[in-house]
C-alpha cells in the first residue's frame, strides 16, 4: 500500500477513506509492538493520515461527494463510507489539530519522558484517530456505535494515563457516562432495526416518514445518549474533571476532537434519519443556553487554569447546540452550517488553549490562577497563545469563532428568534469575564518573587499551540471557502422542506 507515492497523481483511484482509517491503526499496532520507537512511528502515522485526508478533501472538493461500499456488498448488507463536505471538514479538522497536538506532545515528552508515557500515549492516540476518522466516514448506524466505543475507550485511556488519583476517578466517571450514552444509542439502533430492518442512514432517509411517533421517540433516545457523550448541560457532570485532570496533550485531544464526534452524529441523525420537531429543537437550544450560562458561572469559580478551560468547553458545546437550534426546526437546513463552523472554531481554539495551559503549567510549575502572577517565570509565548485562543473562543473578529457566531446570530435574526441572539450575547459577555480573569495575572508584575527574566519560558513546544491559535484567525478570514466546501454533497438538502435563512 503506497499511498504516499501516488499522492497527487490519481487521488480518485486510491481509496483515501480506507487509508485514513487504516494508517493510524497500523501505526498504533507498530507502536504497540515497539514501545521504544512509539513516538517516531506515531508522528509518521499522523503525518501519513494528514496526507491521506488532504488528498481526500482535494478529491471531494474537485469531484464532489464520494461513496465507497466496503467489501463491495452495497448499502443494506455491507457498510458504506461516504465522504461529503461535512465529513471532509471534520476529517481535515481532526487531522490538522491532531498533527499539532502530536508535535506538541512529542516536544513535551522529549522534555519530560516519565510524565508523557510515550509507550501508552501514541498507540492510544492513533487508535483514537482511527476511530474518529472511521466515525466521520461511516454511514451505518451500528458502525457508528462501534466507532463511538473505540473513541470512548481510547479517550478514557488517555484520561487515566496521567496516573493520579483524580485522573483515575475522573476517568471512571467518564467511562460510565460514555458507556451509558453509547448504550442509549445502541437501544435506539435496536429500535430502528426493529422498525425498518436496515441500518444504513442513506437508505433509512427514504423510509422514514416525518410524522412517525416511533421515530420521534427513537430520535429523543439518540439525542439523550449523544448529549450524554458530548456533555450537553444537564448531562455534563463528568467532563470538567476528566478534561482537567488529564495530561496537556490528552486533554487537548479530549476537548477539541473527541467531544465533536457526538455533535457530528447529532447533525447526521437530524439530517438523514428524522428531521427534529419544533419542540425538540427548542429543548436542545434551551439546554445549550443553560450550558453556556452554567459553564460560564462555573468557569468563573474554577481555581485551576485547566478546570476553567474544561468548563469553557461545556459552555462552548452549549453554544454549538444553540447554533443548531437558532432558527427553529424549519431552519435546521441552514443552521447546521453555523454549528459546523463553530465546531471547527472550538476545536482549533480549544486545542491551542489546552496546549498553552499545559505549557504554562510546565513552566510555572502549578496552574492556580490566583497565584500565576507570583512566579518570576513568565512563559510569555504560551500566555500570548492563550490570549489569541481566548479571543477566538469569545468570538471577537476576525477569528473563526466570530464568523460562527455571526452566522448564528444572522440566522436567528432573519428568522426572528431574538432570544437566541440575546442568549449568545450573554454567553459572550460571560466568556469575556472568564478569560479576562486569566489575563489579569498574566499582565500583573507587582507581586512576583524576584525580577522577571528576559523572554523566559520559550521552547519548541510553544510552536504548535501558536500555529493553532494563528490558524483560528486565518480560518476566520477564509470562512466563505469553508462554507462552500461544506455544501459539497448537499448534506442537508433533503431533510427539511423550506430552506429558511436570511442570507441573500
Amino acid at each position: 500500500m503506497t499511498p504516499a507515492v501516488m499522492d497527487g497523481l490519481m487521488p480518485h483511484l486510491i481509496d483515501w477513506e480506507v487509508v485514513a482509517i487504516m494508517a493510524p491503526l497500523l501505526g498504533a499496532l507498530a507502536g504497540l509492538v515497539m514501545p521504544r520507537a512509539a513516538a517516531g512511528i506515531g508522528i509518521a502515522a499522523v503525518g501519513l493520515t494528514t496526507l491521506a485526508v488532504a488528498a481526500l478533501s482535494w478529491a471531494v472538493t474537485t469531484q464532489g461527494a464520494r461513496m465507497m461500499a466496503l467489501g463491495g456488498w452495497g448499502a443494506p448488507l455491507g457498510i458504506d463510507l461516504r465522504a461529503d463536505g461535512l465529513a471532509v471538514m471534520m476529517l481535515a479538522m481532526t487531522a490538522g489539530v491532531g498533527l499539532c497536538i502530536s508535535l506538541s506532545a512529542l516536544a513535551g515528552q522529549r522534555a519530560r519522558p516519565a510524565a508523557g508515557r510515550p509507550g501508552v500515549f501514541w498507540p492510544l492516540w492513533l487508535l483514537l484517530l482511527a476511530g474518529l476518522n472511521g466515525a466521520y466516514l461511516s454511514t451505518d448506524l451500528f458502525n457508528l456505535y462501534v466507532m463511538l466505543e473505540v473513541i470512548s475507550l481510547a479517550a478514557v485511556g488517555l484520561t487515566v494515563m496521567g496516573g493520579g488519583a483524580a485522573a483515575l476517578r475522573a476517568g471512571f466517571e467518564y467511562l460510565m457516562a460514555s458507556m451509558l450514552g453509547a448504550l442509549l444509542f445502541l437501544l435506539a439502533v435496536g429500535f430502528v432495526y426493529l422498525r425498518f430492518g436496515r441500518l444504513d442512514l442513506m437508505g433509512l432517509a427514504d423510509l422514514v416518514t416525518p410524522g412517525d411517533p416511533a421515530m420521534a421517540g427513537v430520535l429523543a433516545l439518540m439525542l439523550v445518549g449523544l448529549a450524554l457523550k458530548t456533555a450537553l448541560f444537564p448531562l455534563h457532570w463528568w467532563l470538567p474533571a476528566a478534561h482537567a485532570s488529564a495530561t496537556a496533550p490528552a486533554s487537548a485531544l479530549l476537548s477539541a476532537l473527541v467531544v465533536k464526534v457526538s455533535l457530528y452524529i447529532v447533525l447526521r441523525v437530524g439530517q438523514y434519519l428524522v428531521p427534529p420537531t419544533e419542540g425538540l429543537v427548542l429543548l436542545v437550544g434551551l439546554a445549550g443556553g443553560a450550558a453556556m450560562i452554567w459553564g460560564g458561572i462555573q468557569a468563573l469559580r474554577a481555581e485551576r487554569l485547566k478546570l476553567l478551560v474544561a468548563w469553557s468547553t461545556v459552555a462552548q458545546i452549549g453554544l454549538i447546540f444553540v447554533a443548531f437550534a437558532r432558527s427553529g426546526a424549519a431552519g435546521t437546513a441552514e443552521s447546521w452550517k453555523a454549528a459546523a463552523l463553530l465546531m471547527l472554531a472550538h476545536a482549533v481554539a480549544k486545542a491551542a488553549m489546552f496546549l498553552a495551559a499545559g505549557r504554562i503549567k510546565d513552566e510555572v510549575g502549578h496552574d492556580e490562577i490566583a497565584r500565576l502572577d507570583r512566579s518570576p517565570v513568565r512563559p510569555t509565548l504560551a500566555q500570548f497563545t492563550f490570549a489569541l485562543a481566548a479571543i477566538s473562543l469569545i468570538g471577537l473578529p476576525p477569528s473563526i469563532g466570530f464568523a460562527g457566531k455571526w452566522l448564528l446570530m444572522e440566522g436567528a435574526l432573519a428568522a426572528g428568534y431574538w432570544h437566541w441572539v440575546a442568549l449568545t450575547f450573554v454567553g459572550t459577555l460571560l466568556s469575556v469575564a472568564v478569560f479576562s480573569r486569566v489575563m489579569v495575572p498574566f499582565l500583573r508584575f507587582d507581586r512576583q518573587r524576584g525580577p522577571v527574566g528576559e523572554h523566559q519560558g520559550w521552547a519548541l513546544a510553544d510552536a504548535p499551540p501558536l500555529v493553532l491559535a494563528l490558524a483560528s484567525f486565518g480560518l476566520g478570514l477564509g470562512a466563505a471557502q469553508i462554507l462552500t466546501m461544506l455544501e459539497v454533497g448537499e448534506p442537508f438538502a433533503r431533510a427539511t422542506g423550506a430552506v429558511l435563512g436570511g442570507a441573500p
Partner: protein, 121 residues
C-alpha cells in the same frame, strides 16, 4: 390484543432490564454495581436486536442482528475490563497500599523497577 408472541414478551423484558440498569447505572453509589448495571443495559438493548431478528420470519432467522449482538458483547466485556481495572486502581490508591502512583516506569522503555512490596503471601 392477540396472544403475546415471544418477541413482545422478550422485547418488553429487555426494555425493563434496560430501564432498571439505566436507573442504577446513574444513581448507584458502589462503582461495581454501576458496572453491572451497564452490562444489564447492554443485555436489554441486545434483546431488541435479537427480537428483531426473530420477528423477520420464524423459519429464516436474520443473521445480521446476531453478528451485531456478538460485537456488542465483546465491546461490553472490554469496557467492563477497563472499568474493573479502574475500580481496582482507585481502591488500591484509596487504601494507600500501592507504593507508587502509577507512572514509575517511563513508558516501556527501561525494564520495570516497580518497588512494590514483596507479595504478603
Amino acid at each position: 390484543m392477540s396472544v403475546p408472541g415471544p418477541d413482545l414478551i422478550y422485547g418488553v423484558a429487555g426494555l425493563g432490564m434496560f430501564g432498571l440498569g439505566l436507573h442504577h447505572a446513574m444513581t448507584a453509589a458502589a462503582p461495581l454495581r454501576r458496572v453491572l448495571a451497564l452490562k444489564i443495559c447492554a443485555i436489554g438493548a441486545s434483546f431488541l436486536l435479537i427480537v428483531a431478528a426473530w420477528r423477520v420470519a420464524p423459519g429464516a432467522i436474520d443473521a445480521v442482528p446476531h453478528a451485531l449482538v456478538i460485537t456488542g458483547i465483546v465491546v461490553m466485556v472490554s469496557a467492563m475490563a477497563v472499568a474493573l481495572a479502574l475500580i481496582r486502581r482507585i481502591r488500591a490508591l484509596q487504601d494507600g497500599e500501592d507504593t507508587q502512583p502509577g507512572h514509575t516506569q517511563a513508558g516501556d522503555t527501561q525494564p520495570g523497577h516497580t518497588r512494590n512490596r514483596e507479595g504478603r503471601q
